[in-house]
Symmetry: C2
Subunit: 386 residues, 2 copies
């Protein structure tokens, strides 16, 4: 078993300012609302004989609701299950290196672990953006099944090897909300000139529809929406959207979130640190990630249920479904945009081909299983009264 | 840490015959197709100093596709992650005690662990049947969220304490198929006199609709369907239904499986064995169950996708949706039947009240998230072509 020594944080990398963080956060499509102060030094706990201590930095602020809890659970379970043989200290984005330099720090071995979202690394390896979530792609149950039984884990590992890392799925938001709009969307034409904050692949699709896509950092969204500087924005889903107060600045809350049907959070581990683990610790890290993956989704679902109820029944939010003609139009544009991006390099083509094949069977099965059950369940009948 | 000694299997309990097994299997609603020969003795591996060896019996045959893999994965990861400090030997139903006596054996400490489905234990504690899956109740994502964030784990633990056990969710089939029919169902009236094999709460609902409910053991279903002795049967979903060859004996494959929207598999642990584990092993057992829970669902989803394709495109199976009027009628009957059953004892009322509250918010959220995404995704547009 290789013992990796804990390194001091590098002062030059530690001084990330709140504003820089929010600006960079705006380039990703997982929302980040606030950051924590940069820390310049950390106490060194004493370690038992042969024990390893790793450091994990997240791309979001420490303890950030929904997104940050997976990283905390992951670290907690690794420490507990290994009986302290491997402990993982969690740092918020910017505490050791700037949030979007987390991958560099893990690749180079400054950190052993990072926690973020695959599309943050598309500038380094373009194929990573297709592992995160794709407009009109797989939903979360299908994505998990693709990873474990559809060859997805092997392909994701191949992509992350290019980054010097081992990949694990480590949380998921589930399908996101369609976004907050001050203009009604009645036809695809209504996207022409629409000023919308929507990053990532979804943003590319809106651009293709003629939209004026803006990438605003989180903190600037509510005033921009209130002043009319933007007409629309997406964020995450009811849980985070309620906390962010977006209902105060927009008339309509559209669904579904066609642009991010299953946003995956990644745990990436420096490849030689991973390979240095014995089979016991590898098993612990793998199961802990599986636990975190389910935990984050379960937390999002429970809080989205409650928060939607609050948005509609306490704040009088108007829910609107995108018309089918709009969804069909966006779906076709998504096919073109994503296909073109993926065709640009062989690794992206490999990732997307695997997803396309899995999705085609998944759509047929979903239609007669989960989808049909959802519609059956909300037919007008009286269920159990207690 | 308490060290539990391994006990010899009791010869009197070990000689379970295939026919008895299949007969008893027919009383549960998770399908069981075959069994293994009873074993009367097992080699004793030598154990490292301080190591514990537990025995887990499943209610289904060892290595049974879909249902049995969760138990195997659970045992495998506990052994690996604990570095051999706790190993779990897996036995198929009938190898140590008859399948449906697994709970007695775990309650009494003959076995430390069992793996089955909560409704198998309804004869002992009626409330357990509501933890498994309820007609028109929660789907699998909601059920997992209810367990972790809706108070479900605490309630399930309370139910299983009555059985002298600790409870974990340890696998899920997802929404099952509606079943195989030789008569068309065009109105609720068509259930009158319909001879259908459908056990559990779903069977109670079909009875309330006037159906003639039959509980046939697995192996007798295909000939009964072919001869007209029964008009219809449910089984699991495309994966197991294809393997069982039901398409050879029935005209129509109906959807959705309103009767079992998320059939949960349980891992139950003798309460004093559980309490004797240190926090490290408790963490390992908890995460391993979370892993198994996801793994089984992922396997079912991947195989259901493929198997549906085979059923439709190779075997020409005709898929039919239950008409909305039928689903509404069954939904109303389900509400009455389940409500009456739950009102009979306080623990059942407590379980069901918690589920009813969670479900009411979940339905509203599903409508604007997963359900809306599914319907949007299969609109007629060209997605990615590679």
């Amino acid at each position: 078993m290789s013992i990796r020594k804990r390194r001091e944080s590098r002062p030059a990398e530690a001084g990330v300012k709140r504003r820089d963080f929010l600006k960079k956060a705006g380039t990703g499509t997982v929302a980040i609302a606030a950051t924590t102060a940069a820390a310049s030094s950390f106490p060194k706990p004493s370690l038992a004989q042969g024990a390893m201590q790793w450091r994990m930095q997240t791309t979001w602020p420490k303890n950030f609701p929904g997104l940050g809890t997976g990283a905390n659970k992951l670290a907690e379970f690794i420490g507990k299950a290994s009986g302290g043989k491997l402990t993982v200290e969690v740092f918020g984005g910017g505490e050791i290196v700037p949030p979007f330099e987390t991958m560099d720090a893990v690749s180079s071995g400054t950190l052993e672990m990072g926690h973020g979202a695959p599309y943050y690394w598309k500038g380094k390896v373009s194929a990573s953006q297709f592992i995160a979530s794709i407009p009109f792609g797989l939903n979360v149950a299908e994505q998990n099944s693709w990873l474990q039984f559809g060859g997805g884990q092997e392909i994701a590992d191949k992509v992350y090897r290019e980054l010097g890392c081992k990949f694990f799925a480590s949380g998921n938001t589930g399908v996101q909300a369609g976004g907050w709009f001050n203009k009604e969307i009645n036809s695809l034409e209504d996207y022409k000139g629409l000023k919308m904050r929507i990053p990532g692949l979804g943003g590319e699709v809106v651009k293709a529809a003629g939209g004026n896509v803006v990438n605003l950092p989180g903190g600037e969204i509510p005033p921009a929406l209130a002043s009319g500087a933007i007409d629309a924005t997406e964020w995450v889903g009811p849980y985070n959207d309620l906390a962010f107060g977006l209902y105060k600045s927009a008339k309509f809350y559209y669904y579904p979130g066609w642009h991010e049907p299953a946003t995956l959070l990644d745990n990436f581990i420096n490849l030689s640190a991973w390979e240095g683990l014995d089979s016991e610790l590898k098993a612990i890290v793998e199961t802990a990630n599986s636990y975190a993956n389910a935990y984050v989704l379960n937390e999002f679902n429970a809080n989205n249920n409650k928060s939607l109820d609050t948005l509609v029944n306490e704040h009088g939010v108007t829910l609107k479904k995108f018309p089918d003609s709009v969804l069909s139009g966006l779906g076709g544009l998504a096919g073109q945009v994503i296909g073109d991006l993926a065709a640009a390099d062989p690794l992206s083509t490999e990732v997307l081909s695997s997803i396309v094949a899995f999705r085609s069977q998944a759509i047929s099965y979903a239609k007669v299983s989960e989808e049909a059950f959802y519609t059956a369940r909300r037919l007008p009948f009286d269920w159990v009264k207690l």
